[in-house]
């Protein structure tokens, strides 16, 4: 695997992410694609910590650390200020976790994209509030253990489909990406950068700490999420035109769940019903992309 941008680094070593952090990998790939002329808005999330305490920064681009619920609003303001200065080259990016996107930051995000603000919103999704101690979010998948869904009280609600919610706003571009598919991620980030209006990228970023799995499995598990259809790779233009970017090999979900401690309580029956949900979502997505099954 080779990326033509691979030699450009916009991150320094010495950040304080956990070993095997998927969010750090996501940032690294994303910045390779997006380049130096970027201002990044980071609402409260793991990356607020990873980027380092003032005056240190692990990123080579300017960063605004902002309040949890303000990702969309602050980016709107930064964009407006740049526009007043006549700077149309700098890209404004909001880099938020799933809590700051699916839950707490949702109204600011929804407001900003409804106005079709000219910015790029990236949600790196590790499926819970990992930074504060693994509390469930509306991104936590069905079946997962978190500290707020402990023991037999595991989460019995489905993960919110955030891309669909964004598509409902008919934004120019919404896409999913994974740290295990760097070419796809970089290509989507470049494509989004070249567009104007509100753009949204949902990056699946595994979390060895919160998912209770060995750190070396981080990328492997992210890859399996795609291979099993749990996290399909696709993009949507104007909220309508769907393209599926990866046709999975049809792996069963079991192995993905078996490798993670957060799912260890699930029975064969639970896994069978999860497989049904995954199949159903996949069929729905294929229909939207115009791939009807016979």
């Amino acid at each position: 695997m080779r990326l033509d941008t691979v030699d450009q680094e916009y991150m320094y070593s010495g950040h304080v992410g956990c070993p095997g952090c998927g969010a750090a990998i996501a940032m690294r790939f994303f910045l390779k694609a997006i380049g130096k002329r970027t201002i990044m808005v980071i609402p409260a999330c793991c990356w607020s910590v990873i980027a380092g305490p003032y005056p240190q920064s692990t990123l080579k681009i300017p960063v605004l650390h902002t309040a949890f619920e303000t990702g969309g609003a602050v980016a709107t303001g930064v964009r407006a200020a740049l526009d007043i200065k006549g700077d149309s080259e700098t890209t404004v990016v909001t880099w938020a976790g799933d809590g700051g996107t699916f839950d707490i930051g949702f109204q600011a995000l929804s407001g900003a994209v409804e106005r079709n603000e000219n910015f790029l919103y990236v949600c790196y999704d590790n499926e819970a509030y990992m930074n504060t101690g693994v509390q469930r979010s509306s991104s936590t998948p069905y079946g997962a253990w978190t500290t707020t869904t402990p023991g037999q009280e595991w989460k019995r609600l489905r993960k919110k489909n955030i891309v669909e919610a964004l598509c409902a706003h008919r934004i120019p571009y919404a896409a999913t990406a994974s740290i295990a598919f760097p070419e796809d991620l970089v290509q989507k980030a470049k494509k989004a950068k070249a567009m104007t209006g509100s753009r949204f990228i949902h990056i699946f970023s595994s979390c060895p700490t919160g998912w209770r799995m060995p750190s070396e499995m981080s990328v492997k598990i992210a890859r399996m999420a795609v291979q099993t259809n749990i996290f399909p790779l696709y993009e949507v233009e104007e909220g309508l035109r769907y393209t599926i970017n990866y046709t999975p090999k049809g792996y069963l979900v079991n192995e993905y769940f078996r490798l993670q401690g957060r799912f260890k309580h699930l029975t064969e029956g639970d896994l069978a019903s999860i497989q049904e949900m995954v199949n159903e979502d996949w069929e729905l997505l294929r229909r939207k992309a115009g791939e009807y099954s016979s």
Partner: protein, 589 residues
């Protein structure tokens, strides 16, 4: 803690950028597991009796570096042209790709390299050690003797070969039909060995007195005179005029004698010689009939050869053994005893016994016997096990109080009699003699052992010379050690061959050449098990940006100041060229 101030080159922006990096945080102190680059041994290399560095050869071919790939073959095997055609390729049986789709056609790629080198007139850069004073006499110029001469020359020793026949090559020259091995290919491989300064005396038959005659002239004598004496059937009628010995028949053909056959040609035996005779007979106009006492699947002949013999019209009568031969007019009447299977031995071969009162008679026009061979002279045989003989996997060494040390090699000592085992024998003998001369008889085993490839018994000359392959670990990469997510299904090359009709018209080589694109494509299928091919995954996925480029052999190294030991690089390495091990805490500060 000192914060290194780094000037960050920012565009003029409204929002200022932090001027301190996080590089002052030496996150390497978090690490309790340590990844490192470690080349390992591929199963194919370990299974190759010549110990060729196959994953590296395939990698170099895939990169278009044909000369380097060819030289990598020559490092361990002086016969790429021969082995690329007639080797029974045990490497392909254990190829990790077998569990993924189909094994890599390793032999085809080796032949491609040999053909490419010949076509372009490449001259290999063969490094040689300083000249030594000892001199070795080699009896027989078959693959083991020639391989020994080649490896000895590279180690700096002078050797002379004594060959009874008018041309060198042994069984390769006289025992293999040209449709398997054209003579020009053999001559090219031999010429390269002789260019190293090896002297060869043809038409020189040696006698038992040879060992005494050469005392003082040579420090060691290698007996690699092979099995040229066919075993007898020991049945009545065997001595009838016209009942031919298979090996002699093949030799006659290789000497260029004109032979025309007609009717049915019966061949007794199930080894490669029997199949070679049957297929040659088919080309000369007869209908071959192979008679074997066990089942077809038990035949020692290589499966490919048997399949092609059947394609060419040979018939196989299994579970029959001849008990009498009689001449009736110009034909032979063969009485065959039927056998029955009563079980299997440890190797899965049928155990058989005579089926009483079940015999049949068949009338044939030609009869060949090819049930195996042994050494032509009793004194060629290695002495029975006794304390003074050192028995290694592919050769036996007999030290003598007077006169030169005697080494028995090639088919004389081999369990599996194949070309590549003969090469292995020559290589092992070369290492053994070098140790004998430099460090004494007792140092031989210890001197050879570190050069085993993987689980052994194959040996690496590159290791012996202390060249880069020494740094590879001997642990063998298994399929479960690979990250196959990075590999795509790709069909194995289909070896282009002459049509059946074309084959039967002449003794022309059956397997055709493959072009550069096909050769590269096949080499690209190789997983390169255990060796770094610079895929860059380790650097790409490192969350700590702790894999950095440099000018070491991997072209990259791990910056342990920042590596947190997550182990991602080791799992994402598709080919198990990295190892994760426990951090030694004493290393840290």
């Amino acid at each position: 803690m000192t914060l290194r101030q780094t000037a960050v080159n920012c565009p003029p922006l409204i929002i200022p950028c932090s001027r301190f990096t996080t590089e002052s945080n030496k996150t390497g102190s978090w690490r309790f597991l340590r990844p490192r680059y470690e080349n390992k041994t591929a199963p194919c290399s370990s299974a190759c009796p010549a110990g060729e560095d196959i994953p590296r050869i395939e990698m170099l071919v895939a990169q278009g570096l044909f000369k380097e790939a060819w030289e990598t073959v020559l490092m361990e095997n002086p016969f790429p042209g021969v082995c690329g055609r007639v080797c029974y390729h045990p490497c392909e049986q254990v190829c990790n790709r077998r569990e993924f789709d189909e094994p890599v056609a390793i032999r085809t790629v080796e032949r491609f390299l040999a053909d490419t080198a010949t076509r372009n007139g490449l001259q290999p850069d063969i490094k040689r050690l300083n000249a030594k004073q000892q001199k070795i006499a080699i009896v027989g110029s078959g693959p083991s003797g020639l391989a020994l001469a080649y490896f000895l020359a590279r180690l700096g020793y002078e050797s002379e070969i004594f060959e009874a026949m008018p041309e060198p090559g042994g069984v390769l020259r006289w025992g293999l039909p040209t449709y398997r091995l054209p003579v020009a290919i053999l001559k090219a491989d031999i010429a390269r060995i002789l260019e190293l300064g090896v002297h060869i005396h043809c038409n020189k038959t040696i006698t038992p007195r040879f060992l005494d005659e050469v005392t003082g002239h040579y420090d060691a004598v290698f007996l690699g005179c092979g099995h040229s004496h066919s075993l007898p059937l020991k049945i009545p009628g065997e001595d009838l005029d016209g009942v031919e010995d298979g090996l002699r028949f093949l030799q006659k053909l290789r000497q260029g004698k004109e032979v025309v056959l007609n009717g049915t040609a019966a061949v007794i035996g199930g080894g490669n010689t029997a199949i070679d005779v049957a297929r040659s007979a088919a080309r000369l106009g007869a209908k071959p009939l192979v008679i074997y006492r066990r089942r077809q699947q038990d035949m020692p002949a290589f499966d490919d050869e048997v399949t092609m013999a059947l394609e060419e019209g040979a018939e196989i009568w299994e579970l029959r053994t001849p008990v009498k031969i009689a001449a009736v007019e110009k034909d032979y009447v063969l009485t065959l005893q039927q056998m029955e299977v009563i079980g299997e031995d440890a190797r899965g071969r049928a155990r058989i016994r005579v089926q009483l009162n079940k015999t049949e008679e068949i009338s044939v026009q030609h009869l060949f016997v090819a049930i195996g061979a042994s050494s032509a002279e009793q004194w060629y045989k290695p002495p029975p096990k006794k304390s003074s003989t050192m028995r290694l996997s592919n050769c036996s060494i007999l030290p003598r109080s007077q006169g030169p040390t005697v080494v028995f090699g090639g088919d004389l000592v081999a369990d599996i009699k194949s070309v590549v085992h003969a090469i292995a024998s020559g290589k092992q003998a070369a290492m053994a003699l070098d140790n004998l001369f430099q460090n004494g008889f007792d140092a031989i085993r210890a001197g050879i052992e570190p050069n085993l490839v993987g689980d052994g018994p194959s040996l690496s000359m590159e290791n012996y010379l202390g060249w880069p392959r020494t740094q590879s670990s001997r642990s063998v990469v298994h399929h479960e050690d690979l990250n196959t997510d990075y590999f795509r299904f790709a069909p194995r090359i289909i070896q282009p061959r002459l049509l059946r009709e074309e084959r039967l018209r002449s003794f022309a080589e059956i397997d055709l050449k493959i072009g550069t694109i096909l050769g590269i494509r096949e080499a690209e299928r190789c997983f390169n098990c255990g060796i770094c091919n610079q895929c860059d995954n380790c650097r790409l996925f490192c969350p700590e940006i702790a894999v950095v480029r440099d000018d070491t052999t991997q072209n990259r190294r791990i910056n342990y100041d920042y590596c947190k030991g997550c182990g991602l690089c080791v799992v994402e390495c598709p080919r198990s060229a990295m190892t994760l091990e426990e951090e030694c805490l004493c290393n840290r500060y």
